[in-house]
């Protein structure tokens, strides 16, 4: 599957089958996360892969944005320096988002469905995963096999969101 096919074909999957994901596939997905670009190449993300049924169940319960139990979670955490400035905070969020996209595209290309979740209780997750101070759980990606892909939600036309040379200036397409 080429990159564009993965970008346009990926959907947010919220219903999974009970089938487990092989370790090889999970390793491949995590490796894709490792190759994500990051601000200043600081590679501040840390990834917690969760496959233990009991831990998964606890994560589901403290994450209102998760509707069904997936085969695995990847919790994207960010190593934050003390006294981070707004600029750092902005980059932390961007780095996590980019890593999440790498995870989702790699997973989709390997036949695995995903959904990125921001609605979870951070402090509860910190407690469950024993995340140390200075590291912040930032995003959760759910991963699992799926039976069907949902239809793509409507996308805004390019001319509404993309401009040529100056903001607001329409381009030809």
């Amino acid at each position: 599957m080429d990159a564009l096919e993965a970008i346009k074909g990926r959907r947010s999957i919220r219903e999974f089958t009970d089938d487990p994901i092989s370790e090889e596939i999970l390793a491949e997905i995590l490796d894709a996360a490792r190759w994500a670009p990051s601000g200043g190449n600081r590679q501040g993300w840390r990834f917690v892969l969760v496959t233990d049924p009991q831990v998964k169940e606890m994560i589901r319960k403290v994450s209102p944005g998760i509707f069904a139990l997936p085969a695995a979670f990847i919790v994207i955490c960010m190593k934050k320096k003390a006294g981070a400035r707004a600029w750092d905070e902005w980059l932390y969020a961007a780095d996590c988002g980019i890593a999440a996209q790498n995870i989702m595209l790699a997973a989709f290309s390997l036949g695995i469905g995903t959904c990125v979740v921001a609605s979870f209780a951070k402090e509860a997750l910190r407690e469950i995963l024993e995340v140390p101070e200075g590291i912040e759980p930032s995003l959760i990606v759910t991963l699992g096999h799926y039976e069907s892909l949902p239809e793509a939600p409507e996308r805004k036309p390019l001319k509404e969101i993309a401009f040529l040379n100056r903001y607001g200036e329409e381009w030809g397409q």
């Binding site: 209102p64 609605s119 209780a121």
Partner: protein
């Protein structure tokens, strides 16, 4: 009225966890997520009710859960339809409330 306890402590605790974590989430999340968490909590409660052998209103709960699960994510694609769905669900619950009150009074 059926006074049987239909939720286990484990189920009640799961719902408690959902409500508490949702309450925290509502501090930061978009305003409309609050309504979504509440209707999702209703769906989760219905799920537990339907697992019980003891409930009297099974058919109503079953249809209600089906409708909520089918339409709750409309919030993300069609806000107006989602708000209308909430009004409609409210009306259905109120109708049921009246019927239950009438049957108790009979």
């Amino acid at each position: 009225m059926n006074q049987t306890k239909v939720l286990s402590e484990e189920e009640a605790f799961e719902l408690l966890t959902f409500l508490v974590t949702s309450a925290r989430g509502c501090v930061d999340e978009p305003e409309t997520y609050g309504t979504f968490r509440l209707i999702d909590a209703a769906s989760r409660l219905l799920d537990f009710l339907l697992k019980s052998e003891e409930v009297e209103d099974r058919e109503f709960y079953s249809h209600l859960k089906e409708e909520i699960d089918e339409k709750k994510l409309w919030l993300m694609t069609d806000e107006e339809a989602y708000f209308n769905f909430l009004s409609e669900v409210t009306r259905k619950v109120a109708q049921r409330l009246k019927r239950r009150a009438e049957s108790q009074g009979a």
